[in-house]
């Protein structure tokens, strides 16, 4: 499957540089798992980061910093086993470390499931599942919205999006996506601020969408 929609270079560079918050990071990571081209770019940007780290003038560490770190190594027992994962088959590996809330009904044919990140600031991350042929309510957002398509497809004025594709939208975009008719569509979404649904359905659903 050819991936046609990728994160912007700036988003990928921010991922590599560590300036993305955890929420957006996870969503970009789900794209990287499937996209070798973006992985190459990120890998290259990480090399730039490595070179820049080497080239920084060192800031002297506090006294006994090494001794303290070695003492912590001594105190460590065997490593904590990884947390059990409430993961489902078919979900991206980048979600494995996180607990998820339950699926919630948010509208006809539409469900969402929050990803519980340790700290996500004002970015919320959730899975969005919409049945075949669903017309999602028209919406705008307060900030940016990153969407990684995991399963199925949707299309809107901005193009056709299939599994593996990535959509980056800012607050100005007002799209009305329609899910492909062949199967349900599952997306991983990082949303900054609140989703604002417009129209009658929107007014109905808004209270539910506030996670």
């Amino acid at each position: 499957m050819t991936i046609r929609h990728h994160p912007s270079d700036e988003t990928l560079a921010a991922y590599a540089a560590g300036t993305l918050d955890l929420g957006r990071r996870v969503v970009v990571a789900s794209h990287l798992e499937r996209c070798a081209a973006c992985r190459r770019f990120v890998r290259g940007a990480e090399q730039v980061g490595g070179v820049m780290l080497e080239d920084l003038s060192p800031a002297p560490m506090s006294e006994h910093a090494l001794a303290r770190t070695l003492a912590r190594i001594d105190r460590e027992h065997s490593r904590q086993p990884a947390k059990p994962v409430a993961n489902e088959p078919g979900l991206p590996a980048c979600l494995k470390p996180y607990e998820m809330g339950r699926w919630r009904w948010v509208g006809p044919g539409v469900e969402m499931r929050p990803i519980l990140l340790p700290e996500s600031g004002n970015v919320r991350v959730f899975l969005l599942k919409a049945g075949p042929g669903t017309r999602l309510p028209q919406h705008t957002h307060e900030g940016s919205e990153l969407t990684s398509i995991l399963v199925g497809s949707f299309h809107h004025e901005g193009g056709d999006f299939f599994a593996g594709d990535f959509e980056e939208a800012d607050g100005d975009v007002e799209h009305r996506p329609i899910v492909g008719t062949d199967m349900a569509c599952i997306c991983l979404v990082a949303l900054e601020g609140q989703l604002k649904l417009s129209g009658f359905i929107g007014a109905l659903l808004n209270p539910f969408v506030r996670l």
């Binding site: 270079d9 700036e10 560079a13 921010a14 590599a16 540089a17 560590g18 300036t19 993305l20 918050d21 955890l22 990071r25 996870v26 990571a29 990287l32 798992e33 070798a36 992985r39 190459r40 770019f41 990120v42 890998r43 290259g44 940007a45 990480e46 090399q47 730039v48 980061g49 490595g50 070179v51 820049m52 780290l53 080497e54 080239d55 920084l56 003038s57 060192p58 800031a59 002297p60 560490m61 506090s62 910093a65 090494l66 303290r68 770190t69 070695l70 912590r72 190594i73 460590e76 490593r79 904590q80 990884a82 590996a93 980048c94 494995k96 470390p97 996180y98 340790p118 700290e119 600031g121």
Partner: protein
């Protein structure tokens, strides 16, 4: 010959490069003497020694070299002195714990350690970062999924990146640096550099295109 070299962009950059990039130039010259980036290879071997023998001397050498650089990185990212120091220790602790996942064929020591420091920086946004095991919840799977299909060794690629960065005009390096280290909104970068916002945006676009060229050249 020497007049020609002085007129080249590279030679010009030599005098005007951001201060933080200067020390590496000397190292590059050293490395270029025998054609091998020796330091890079050594640090890789130290990580392997930590992984296989739990070698404390090797760990100490890694600590002495990288902890102060990670601290500098975190200071530039906005951490205060105490937090930067503590997180730099935390990063080296993660180096100890994760050493067996290091693959010298896929990353230079500096790149690998950079990604650890970077993940810590992401964790910085958490209120209770101290309670969270460092970097353990971040998507390692990405790195595992990447095929080592490159013909160049990672050490060679690291040197190429270093070299290619040096070819960039200083104002582009400055923009890349700011976006890598300081997480400043564009408006703030504009203020810091005393240039219009539009110029920052176009420089970032150009810097990203350069980055893409650079990465393209490597693959």
């Amino acid at each position: 010959m020497s007049a020609l070299r002085l007129a080249s962009p590279t030679a010009r950059n030599f005098r005007t490069l951001a201060p933080s990039l200067r020390p590496a130039r000397a190292r590059l010259t050293d490395a270029a003497m025998d054609g091998k980036p020796l330091a890079t290879l050594d640090y890789s071997q130290m990580i392997v020694a930590v992984a296989r023998q739990r070698d404390r001397a090797a760990f100490g050498a890694l600590f002495d070299h990288f902890a102060p650089r990670i601290k500098a990185y975190l200071l530039r990212a906005g951490a205060d002195e105490g937090l930067a120091d503590e997180l730099a220790q935390e990063a080296l602790l993660a180096v100890w714990r994760k050493a067996e996942t290091f693959d010298a064929a896929r990353a230079t020591a500096a790149t690998w350690i950079f990604t650890i420091a970077r993940n810590l920086r992401t964790d910085r946004f958490r209120k209770e970062w101290r309670d969270v095991p460092v970097g353990d919840d971040l998507p390692d799977a990405i790195d595992e999924a990447a095929a080592p299909d490159e013909s160049l060794s990672e050490a060679e690629r690291g040197e190429r990146v270093r070299h290619a960065l040096r070819q960039l005009p200083p104002e582009q390096i400055k923009v890349i640096e700011l976006s890598f280290f300081e997480d400043q909104p564009h408006a703030e970068i504009a203020q810091t550099l005393g240039i219009p916002l539009g110029t920052v945006k176009s420089r970032i676009r150009i810097a990203m295109a350069k980055l893409r060229d650079l990465v393209g050249d490597l693959s």
